[in-house]
């Protein structure tokens, strides 16, 4: 341990909390508190109300929530399929092929998401692939953006996989497809669900590419929050943000439940 004296420890801890609490805990708490108030121009919020939640869970915002959920779920499932397929294919390749695939599938992380949005907009605004103005263009952009994360977490998990299991199965006569389905995928299930959770959370909060692409009838929650704050209704925006955070947390919690059940097997 670095600090041994009692006073030294307390001093260090107070430095930690003086930095940590205002920077990280307070912003989230402020949003939560603001969503329940009508007015906040002093030290404490005033005028407790649940009115913003009526606005945040009905009409446009409710539609934005379902929009976000559909987008996030479909984008993460697609990304998970493409990403884990590529990761599994990369694992069976030689060093150079693997590094090529690594670079290729990590590229969307390096390219700014606004630019991904612009590129998708440029490419899919004209026939034969006319997706502009439909919901599919938003889902497509989200898929591109989160595939990299699915790829990287699945391939990290493949590296950690004990090769003894698949070798044993193969030596007992299992075909590669069978090994994949009965050995590798079940062993990878915890990381697959973790990757799905990550993709879902990222897609729920995606704003940059969405701002470039969203059609008027497909506005996800982040766009809704921006629209609310942009027209000055900060408190409604806060309530919608709480809905966004709550939904993300609930789904992540559900996903981690799947994970623990999978690890019993």
């Amino acid at each position: 341990m670095l600090v041994h004296s009692r006073t030294g420890k307390w001093a260090t801890w107070s430095v930690f909390f003086v930095l940590f609490v205002p920077l990280f805990a307070v912003p989230l708490l402020v949003i939560l508190a603001a969503s329940f108030t009508t007015n906040w121009s002093g030290a404490f919020p005033s005028g407790p109300t649940t009115e913003h939640y009526v606005a945040a869970t009905g009409g446009d915002s409710l539609q934005a929530l379902t929009t976000s959920l559909i987008t996030a779920v479909s984008a993460s499932l697609l990304a998970l399929t493409i990403g884990s397929w590529a990761a599994l294919a990369a694992a069976s390749m030689r060093r150079r092929g693997r590094r090529f695939l690594d670079a290729l599938f990590m590229l969307p992380v390096a390219v700014p998401s606004v630019v991904v949005g612009l590129a998708v907009l440029v490419a899919f605004s004209k026939p034969p692939m006319l997706l502009n103005g439909t919901r599919w263009i938003v889902i497509l952009a989200h898929t591109i953006l989160v595939t990299a994360f699915a790829y990287s977490s699945v391939s990290a998990a493949i590296v950690r996989l004990d090769p003894m299991y698949e070798q044993a199965a193969a030596s007992l006569g299992a075909r590669p497809g069978y090994v994949l389905w009965r050995i590798k995928l079940p062993l990878l299930l915890p990381s697959l669900t973790a990757a799905a959770g990550l993709c879902f959370a990222l897609s729920m909060g995606e704003l940059s590419a969405t701002m470039m692409l969203y059609p008027p009838d497909w506005t996800p929650l982040p766009v809704q929050i921006f629209a609310a704050t942009d027209r000055g209704s900060l408190f409604t925006g806060a309530a919608v943000a709480v809905v966004l955070m709550g939904t993300t947390l609930l789904v992540l919690l559900g996903v981690s439940k799947i994970r623990t059940r999978a690890s019993y097997r």
């Binding site: 801890w13 906040w40 121009s41 599994l88 700014p112 606004v114 907009l121 729920m204 909060g205 921006f226």
Partner: protein, 314 residues
């Protein structure tokens, strides 16, 4: 590979190992050779399996990027020229956006590194009850979108926010002193807040590998905490710092949500410029030029990050 002459089709039905095939209840496919290894299906080379996902990625990601590059050299008048680049590079808005982007990213990264190092070190080496909860909180924090931080800062330091309200209540002044949110400093604060956890995570992982006996030994030999930090912890943390720092640098360069939410006309970064050129002004060639510059900067930095993190194994 004794059975290289077998047709591929036989792989699908007949790849049992000898031991299984001698079992009494097993139906033995007639064509199976006696010592046929199960890995025989690998005759389809590995890269073939990689083709479908690569094709999908090429269609939806690489092809659009190529179109952006192509669009950036095709001005509205038609033809191919690099005139759009000249126009954009000459414009004041582009130059100021470039400077703003770079100094904001560098400043935020430096802030994140210092703050993340201090916080991670305290969590790891001066443990306190609830330290694990803090680490868990950081994980949750990472799963939220960045613009929430700016939204929160609007409540705290905004024109009619908490801090200014308290100030006017106490001093009776007409308006408060906190007016930095719409300046680059507001973006800097938000970026440092949001991206510090991205530095802390690899640092915490690196610190958990560090044998605390090293610290005890250094301490028992009379080293003061400052010296232990400098000579034992910092060298151990350097790879994680380098990896985390370059990742954060790339993410700060590409950050859009935070800048959009501050709503400041004075703070224009490259991603913001791409957005305003393309969506607000419908000037696609110019937007594509800015986009290409932005891609070049961040892909270059990102490859650097990959190189660093591969070298140090982080």
């Amino acid at each position: 590979m004794t059975s290289a002459a077998h047709p591929v089709a036989s792989d699908i039905t007949a790849t049992k190992t000898p031991r299984q095939r001698t079992g009494p209840s097993r139906a033995v496919p007639p064509k199976a050779g006696p010592r046929e290894p199960a890995r025989r299906a690998r005759r389809i080379p590995g890269f073939v399996w990689a083709l479908p996902p690569v094709a999908v990625l090429a269609l939806v990601f690489l092809y659009p990027l190529a179109l952006v590059v192509q669009q950036s050299v095709s001005p509205d008048e038609g033809g191919t020229s690099i005139a759009p680049y000249g126009d954009v590079f000459a414009s004041e808005s582009f130059r100021s956006a470039l400077t703003t982007t770079v100094w904001l990213a560098v400043g935020s990264t430096a802030g994140c590194l210092v703050l993340g190092f201090v916080l991670a070190m305290i969590i790891a080496f001066v443990p306190f009850p609830g330290g694990r909860a803090v680490a868990k909180f950081i994980d949750v924090f990472l799963s939220f979108p960045s613009f929430l931080i700016t939204l929160a800062l609007l409540f705290i330091y905004g024109n009619v926010g908490m801090a200014n309200g308290v100030w006017t209540d106490i001093t009776g002044a007409a308006d408060g002193p906190f007016d930095f949110l719409t300046t680059p400093w507001g973006v800097l604060l938000a970026e440092i807040t949001y991206f510090t956890p991205f530095v802390m995570r690899p640092l915490l992982a690196a610190f958990s590998q560090l044998d605390s006996a090293q610290l005890e030994v250094a301490s028992s030999l009379g080293a003061k905490p400052a010296r232990i930090v400098r000579q034992v912890i910092l060298p151990e943390a350097l790879p994680a710092l380098a990896a985390g720092g370059s990742l954060v640098l790339v993410m700060c360069l590409n950050e859009f949500g935070i800048v959009l939410f501050t709503g400041a006309k004075g703070v224009t970064t490259l991603p913001m410029l791409v957005y305003s050129k393309a969506i607000l002004e419908s000037d696609y060639p110019a937007a594509c030029v800015v986009a290409v510059v932005n891609i070049a900067i961040s892909v270059g930095l990102y490859s650097l990050y990959r190189m660093v993190s591969r070298r140090v194994g982080a």
